[in-house]
Symmetry: C2
Subunit: 383 residues, 2 copies
């Protein structure tokens, strides 16, 4: 049995007075305090981060974390573009499956706003194929191609996409750690400037700073002692081609579909058992595709279903999506995102989600994507 | 039981006509061919690489490898500076401990020679602390501080260090995949230009390109079927402070000492059982410290012992060190180094080391270091 026993996230946003490792340190201290564990009780650390090398010339963060935590233990950094946090969580789970009676700290962090937009955009494009980079295809461009394909194939308009952002901004307004707390309307989204047609500013997640941390354990005594604890039923990583042109279908993320199928099989639950999900909405179209590829809605159906806003908190739906505000409103400090998603599900499962607490939550899912779908991680948690 | 059943390495050197992923692809195809496995028989991949983001703006290599290998499986990249390869191997071992009947591909690769020396040096310095970077302390400088401290404390001279390079260049002359195949003399080393006093050009490993891959399995049928197979008795990762100034002793690498102690305890063998070792000789002083910290020689003794050249192939010693040529002569394509070290031990254990084959080898050790000792990985293999 592997349990998640604590979660801490820093504020997400433009945190110009904090360095990457200031944020990492805050997340470490926060989660240790919450679980009442000392640094000496941590047996291993997994760190998810994408851009510290490219943007800050900071590599070997494993050793930096050893210095912060004041321990000499195994520490690993993993990078899988925007899925770095989810991948770190998955490796931590493997570590616990291989070792008994251990406590593992999982951290995700990113520092993105201290650099020029050109530097950040170039860094982010490192997650795309060489050919795509050379063609000037940044991530808005890649997701715009998927959006155009989807809208045309299923006869939707930009308005259908807008509901994702409206919902997630409403959720962000309820989350004090979110980057954006302003509610927006469908009209606001449609009036916002194009980034890459049909995607507009308000279809897109922001560039953010932030760090998030969780503690996983398979120590039974500790699990019994902790008041807030959830089981990790599944965590699955699947990869796919880095180039969009090598994919068979532009209206699905195969990595998400496969990871989801394997995760539900391992968790031995049905889609309808999930009451809360954090899905990877780097762009509005990404949540649309995710809802279908995760198996919550049928292929081609999400464009219509999203308009009902059944996945919005307070509307009485059976599945509420992105209560944290998602990447769109809570922000997207790349390496931190996968951990924040899992952390938000933890808060919901343990009744700590305050003004956005969904009722009667037994199962939750987190879904983290790297690049244009080259990596997907699906995690299922249960109370 | 976890076994290593195949190893392939590309040429190490200045490979200007090959990209990072050309090298990765060659290593993948090489190791698959050798083990007669198909891509569909690989269940997971672990990739060790340090600089592809900083130098080539290539991140999300997990997805690139999915495209090369034409599979949709879990693929992970890990980075721990110069210990990235060793760390990837360690994670692969954890994965197998957590999952039965699986075959895992572990790749290490680095492309370093297409860039200006300034770019490469800046990239490598990303493995040091921010303060050290700002002070202009590149890796030769950091290891020079350790060398000065060691030579003064134990009353040795630069000549003592020179024997490491002489030995490893002799070994490199026997390895056709080595970056340098020229034998050198103590006089050659002493006459070479200073890089950071007391370390000279011929005390230092080069900037190289290369990729290496191994396949690990816990599938008993496959282990029984493979002619060349060795057991992984231990693989231990230990971290320490990134800053040299935070360490208690400048004449030891604590991470190496701790990783070695844990590894020998797990392997249930003694130091004297080891007949071949690949140790991390990024600079001559590094092999001197490693021989002591790994417990082969007593603290302060290596400066004298190395002059006997008992660890040189052909001298009849009971422990031969760096038969590949080490980082010094075989070359140091950072991410590939940790895998090449393990691969060289595999060749020795399975009698495939040709003109440098040590006799009666039952146990071998590989030792991979990140930065100035912020990470160490010790792996013990047995036939």
């Amino acid at each position: 049995m592997i349990n998640l026993i604590g979660y801490y996230t820093t504020q997400f946003g433009e945190l110009w007075d904090k360095s990457l490792f200031d944020l990492v340190e805050e997340a470490i201290n926060g989660v240790l305090k919450q679980t009442q564990l000392s640094n000496k009780q941590i047996d291993a650390v997994f760190f998810g981060n994408m851009l510290a090398g490219v943007l800050g010339n900071n590599l070997h963060s494993t050793s930096r974390i050893s210095e912060i935590l004041k321990v000499n233990i195994p520490i690993f950094r993993t990078e899988a573009a925007c899925a770095s946090g989810g991948a770190a969580f998955n490796l931590a789970k493997s570590y616990l499956e291989a070792n008994s009676n251990k406590n593992v700290l999982v951290i995700g962090a990113e520092k993105m706003t201290d650099y020029s937009p050109e530097e950040t955009i170039t860094g982010l494009s490192a997650a795309a194929s060489g050919e795509e980079q050379e063609a000037g295809l940044t991530f808005p461009g890649l997701y715009a191609m998927m959006a155009n394909f989807y809208l045309e194939k299923y006869h939707y308009t930009e308005e259908n996409l807008a509901y994702v952002s409206v919902k997630n901004h409403f959720h962000g307004s309820l989350n004090e750690k979110a980057h954006f707390r302003k509610k927006i309307s469908v009209e606001d989204v449609l009036k916002s400037a194009y980034v890459a047609h049909p995607l507009k500013v308000l279809d897109s997640s922001p560039i953010s700073d932030g760090a998030a941390a969780v503690i996983l354990t398979n120590n039974r005594d500790l699990i019994n002692k902790q008041k807030k604890s959830v089981s990790v039923l599944a965590s699955e990583v699947v990869t796919d081609t880095i180039s969009l042109k090598e994919r068979k279908n532009l209206d699905e993320i195969l990595a998400t579909k496969n990871a989801s199928n394997i995760a539900f099989e391992k968790a031995k639950i049905r889609r309808r058992d999930i009451s809360v999900a954090e899905v990877h909405d780097c762009f509005s179209i990404a949540e649309i595709l995710a809802m279908e590829d995760l198996g919550f809605w049928k292929k081609g159906e999400a464009g219509e279903k999203i308009k009902e806003l059944s996945t919005k908190f307070g509307n009485g739906g059976s599945l509420i999506v992105n209560t944290s505000g998602g990447l769109k409103a809570a922000g997207h400090p790349v390496g931190a995102t996968g951990i924040k998603q899992i952390g938000e599900v933890f808060l919901q499962l343990t009744g700590q989600a305050e003004n956005r607490q969904v009722k009667n939550v037994k199962y939750g899912l987190a879904h983290n994507v790297g690049g244009s779908g080259g990596t997907a991680v699906v995690t299922i948690l249960a109370i």
